[in-house]
Symmetry: none
Subunit: 365 residues, 2 copies
């Protein structure tokens, strides 16, 4: 076994999920994540946790969803499993990122709605999602397997404590600030110019650990839940939304709500998202990518949104961790991230002061 | 997909487990059983059951067991899963039948003991074990993969109702009888001569369906829970116990308990089993193989013990179905089957009357 697989497992169990002896842990294993599963379960044995491994097979899900009449139930047994779990580790890494392509949207929607309680139970645990580098993900990224492995481990095997300290500076600025403005130029002309309020909201220093309210490995972003968005924003990083390739999305906001949109490619997918519910037309997240171990777009949101020199915004659901205690924010059924490159011709301002210019943060000197 | 994989899934879900709409089903998937898992989950979607798939990876188990300090707990989450399940389907078929070879016996024993409640909860469901034909199992059987597939489907895709009728005759004889005696000769000299009581016990007509208290697919045996075993028995069919090759086991019983043992090969594995607990030194099962679709030894107990012309006995745990209502029998943490060939130079007697001589049953005429 590549020693980095074991290191990945160690970061996941120790740093990210903070697993303790006697914890009841569910490990979800995607079809291609066997090797990482072995390393993670080995580490959990070492810690003295109790483990259930679930088989998260996209091909099995497809077969189930297509055979079912659509009147989905939710298993008491599955609910009981997650309600009694302390930690849920999801090891992604399938064998085909489009394995569910021929399951229709209504079926997916019905299945997802039937599983609301299950999802809540899982999200009430110390859950962490990560991925094992598989051929399928390498292909989605346009990379060779070995090259993709380097990419994944560069992103995952970081000095997370050092990054958390750097990100704490960005968090402090957002927590103390009231208004965020992002301005970019393209070909010498104004492109994005958008403002939003973050007053009263708490930013998350997403340092890939439940100790930081952060549930992704890799992570490396600071995010908050904005409101009152005004202006225009252009997302130039390509992405896949519900299996559709989307590129060059422009959104126009008034009073916090999208009033106009356009896309160079995949406009119908954007329209579908916006039509889901009222929350889908408002932002649920503003995120600032700070993981410089992620140096390129790989068409996988787990990595893309954390990339250094990018800012992303999500239409839809907000995270509770950003909201004042007990307050509920955007409760949309969707959460769709879109990313913009800020490496050049850009500035991010908080209350009129420039925090990041052309990708360089003020506190980086 | 080979159409027989779908037929296998149908027999498993409809005939064996009798799954109904809304049932909460756990499907355990061994490393090599993906294809069968897809077919089974598809069938469960069609029926309208709720499904959790667990990943039963031998390599992950090995890693966990070797890393753990041996003071095993049992997860509340796993217990809750099985306590809330209606049906548990275990799809065997790994990639290496000796994947756990370097886990020591003490560790296995401690782990097994810690999981007693989990096992009870699982066995309180309508559980069924089957296997998908993998290269590893073909190799263990000394067969090519295609040849092994034929073997497995010959054993599994049978007229189960017809076999159930034939086995009912054997069950009636055991239910009415008090004492069973097995005598075999080898090279013209007495080899096995063992007696045991079955008085008050109920034999199971194991027709591969929970409707018959039968939990294996394939099945095709009649078994009961004997006690008061006396004498000597020689098991000439080679087998694998906890990844160790075992051959030619001789057990000597007094007062129901093993007082002496020997093995031509793998004696240490037999010793480990006998040392687990008090129940491991007593029989939990006497079984009579009646599936003539299984025509050879393949070093897989699921098949071998059902083979026509064989009798097997298990050290350890007894099945509740054999016991008077509310009575608990052998509650050992282990259940290890050993098989003896009765195709020649043998007779099986019940209360002094020969029921099977040289493999032919009295009622077969």
């Amino acid at each position: 076994m590549d020693e980095r697989v074991r290191e990945h497992a160690e970061v996941l169990v120790d740093w990210s999920a903070r697993v303790e002896p006697g914890d009841d842990v569910v490990v979800g294993v995607a079809e291609g994540a066997h090797e990482l599963a072995v390393a993670v379960v080995e580490k959990l044995g070492d810690v003295g946790a109790n483990v259930v491994t679930t088989y998260d097979s996209a091909e099995a899900s497809r077969a189930y969803l297509r055979a079912h009449d659509g009147d989905f139930g939710a298993g008491d047994h599955e609910l009981a499993l997650y309600e009694h779990a302390d930690v849920v580790l999801r090891l992604g890494g399938g064998r085909n990122t489009t394995a569910l392509a021929d399951v229709d949207g209504d079926t997916r929607g019905a299945y997802s709605r039937a599983r609301t309680d299950l999802r809540e139970a899982r999200m009430a645990t110390d859950w962490v999602s990560t991925v094992h580098p598989t051929r399928s993900l390498a292909q989605q990224a346009g990379m060779a397997l070995e090259e993709y492995r380097e990419f994944v481990y560069d992103a995952v095997l970081r000095d997370w404590e050092a990054l958390a300290e750097r990100m704490a500076e960005m968090k402090a600025i957002l927590d103390e600030g009231s208004e965020v403005r992002l301005v970019t130029e393209r070909d010498g002309r104004p492109d994005t110019d958008v403002t939003m309020s973050v007053d009263g909201r708490t930013a998350v220093n997403s340092a890939a650990s439940v100790a930081y309210d952060s549930h992704n490995l890799p992570s490396g972003e600071v995010f908050t839940a904005p409101y009152g968005t005004e202006g225009e924003v252009f997302f130039d990083v390509p992405m896949t939304i519900n299996s559709t390739r989307v590129r060059g999305v422009r959104l126009t906001f008034e009073d916090g709500e999208v009033v106009d949109y356009a896309a160079e490619q995949g406009a119908a997918a954007v329209e579908d998202v916006l039509g889901t519910d009222a929350g889908a037309r408002r932002l649920g997240e503003l995120g600032i990518g700070m993981n410089r171990g992620i140096d390129r777009v790989t068409d996988n949101i787990l990595f893309d949104e954390k990339m250094g020199d990018t800012v992303h915004m999500a239409l839809g659901r907000a995270y509770d961790a950003n909201l004042p205690e007990g307050e509920s924010g955007n409760d949309s059924a969707v959460h769709v991230d879109m990313i913009t490159d800020v490496s050049a011709d850009s500035r991010l301002e908080v209350d009129g002061e420039v925090v990041q210019r052309d990708g360089t943060f003020r506190f980086e000197g």
